[in-house]
Amino acid sequence: MTAAARLPRPGASGASGFSSHSGTSGPRVVAGTFRAEVLKLLTLPALYLTAAITWAVAPLLAVASVSAAAGEGNGPGPGTDPGLAPVGYAQAGFVVLGVLAAASEYRGGQIRTTLTCVPRRVEVQLAKAAALAVTALPVAVATAGSGVLAARAALAAHAPPYGAAGPVDAPGEVRAVAGAAAYLVLTALLSSAVATLTRGTIPAVTVLLGHHFVVGPYLAGRTALTAYLPGTAGLWPGGGTGAGEVLGAGGRWAVVTGWTVAALGVAIVSFRRRDA
């Protein structure tokens, strides 16, 4: 007997009977929580717009960075992939993505609807993080991948020594794209944690972009401590220079992952305690 069979017919305002207080099994209940969070993200127009802009701008920046490097006669330096140069900028898109995903709960009092559907607050936040990771991953792969492809095309258009004279290092590029995509997903998760704490879009975006693009770069030349900040350490964990002089690739991954996990942890503790 299904629940639907006992629900009142459309048009009949009364109830012939009520749902049972079914004690369904844990995994199915949690799966419902996760599905709801994915559905929420997939029905927010602002997220599509942000993803589309982020993805569209990445190849343009990749081409621009190749041209700039070739024009200056520097060429792409060792250890840097010009296709991944735009990842630094693409992270702005993933900051907005993560912030919008989390802060949207606080528009129209939706958070109260969420908690009257699923009162288990830790479960709600874990489902949110999982849903964001799952939906942000394809966008991150597309963004990093299209950057690399565009850069390769642009390199081919330039004469050697800056052109694509050597054999294409396919496994290396796949690794680089995977690393950049993972970094972008972590950026979205960290940003969603900050927005869960601020409960608003503007303060979270201000803090995060201010850190990633103003404070971080400003401090970068002045103190070695910036190696341990999420944005600058993350530029970019897959390879590259800058903060990487202090930390190895593994260390940089640990820093970025650590910040993300810590921020999510603080957000969950706060969310669990406060009144909704």
């Binding site: 009364g14 207080h21 419902g32 129209g108 009257t116 009144d275």
Partner: protein, 242 residues
């Protein structure tokens, strides 16, 4: 069945609820009355596990709300503010709610029809009128066909036809054995709908009982209400505090 027992709540230095206690029973519509700011919404938010009380317990069907595995099949709630993101469609809003409790997707169209929102289901919530927003919230509350309904100021923003339909719906739910608790500061709208009355003022329950008991020797529920609360009574215009 709803049980509120000795619930107290402070916010900052202000005591907003003091040992609030009452029951809402199956088969009856219970009206939770009080002036604005008396503590109605605060009580309902504690009942629904949104806010944490400093003391006391609030139970639905004998359990704290947070212990319900699939709450929508036990309690439907309509809270002030609608609870929907404005850039999602009405149907999109109901679909994630249904998914969260493992309810069949077909149920979304049923409740849309039930509240008369089928035509507007594909439109964004931001374009809804106040009344449509309230009806969407009611649709969400009915998704799981719960035996308990909790409604905070449900008639706000509804047109006369909407109020009539809501009244019929609530009476029918109670007649089928459901528990209905609704708060309101509009006493007139309530008098014809409720069986039991709880009056709250400045965070304390000042009267409770059947409609007849609470009305008592007064001419009507409205007179009783103003006599019981700090409202200044009809004639002064606003019913506000002195």
């Amino acid at each position: 069945m709803i049980t509120i027992d000795q619930v107290s709540k402070r916010r900052g230095s202000k005591q907003i609820l003091t040992e609030v206690g009452f029951e809402a029973r199956p088969g009856r519509v219970t009206g939770f009355l009080g002036p604005n700011g008396a503590g109605k919404s605060s009580t309902l938010r504690i009942l629904l596990g949104l806010d944490r009380p400093d003391g006391g317990v609030a139970l639905v069907a004998g359990r704290p709300f947070a212990r319900l595995r699939r709450p929508l099949t036990t309690v439907g709630a309509v809270l002030d503010g609608g609870g929907a993101h404005r850039s999602r469609t009405g149907r999109g809003h109901l679909r994630w709610i249904a998914a969260s409790n493992g309810l069949p997707r077909a149920r979304v169209d049923e409740v849309l029809d039930l509240v008369g929102l089928t035509e507007a289901a594909g439109r964004r919530v931001g374009g809804y009128s106040l009344g449509m927003g309230r009806r969407l919230a009611l649709a969400a509350a009915l998704l799981g066909d719960p035996p308990v309904l909790v409604l905070d100021e449900p008639v706000n923003g509804l047109d006369p036809e909407g109020i009539r339909r809501l009244r019929v719906l609530l009476r029918d739910r109670a007649a089928a054995g459901g528990t209905v608790l609704l708060s309101s500061h509009l006493i007139g709208e309530l008098a014809e709908t409720v069986d039991d009355v709880v009056v709250i003022d400045r965070g304390r329950v000042v009267a409770l009982g059947t409609l007849a008991e609470v009305t008592g020797a007064h001419r009507g529920l409205e007179d009783a209400f103003f006599a019981l609360t700090s409202g200044t009574g009809p004639g002064t215009g606003h019913g506000g505090r002195p």
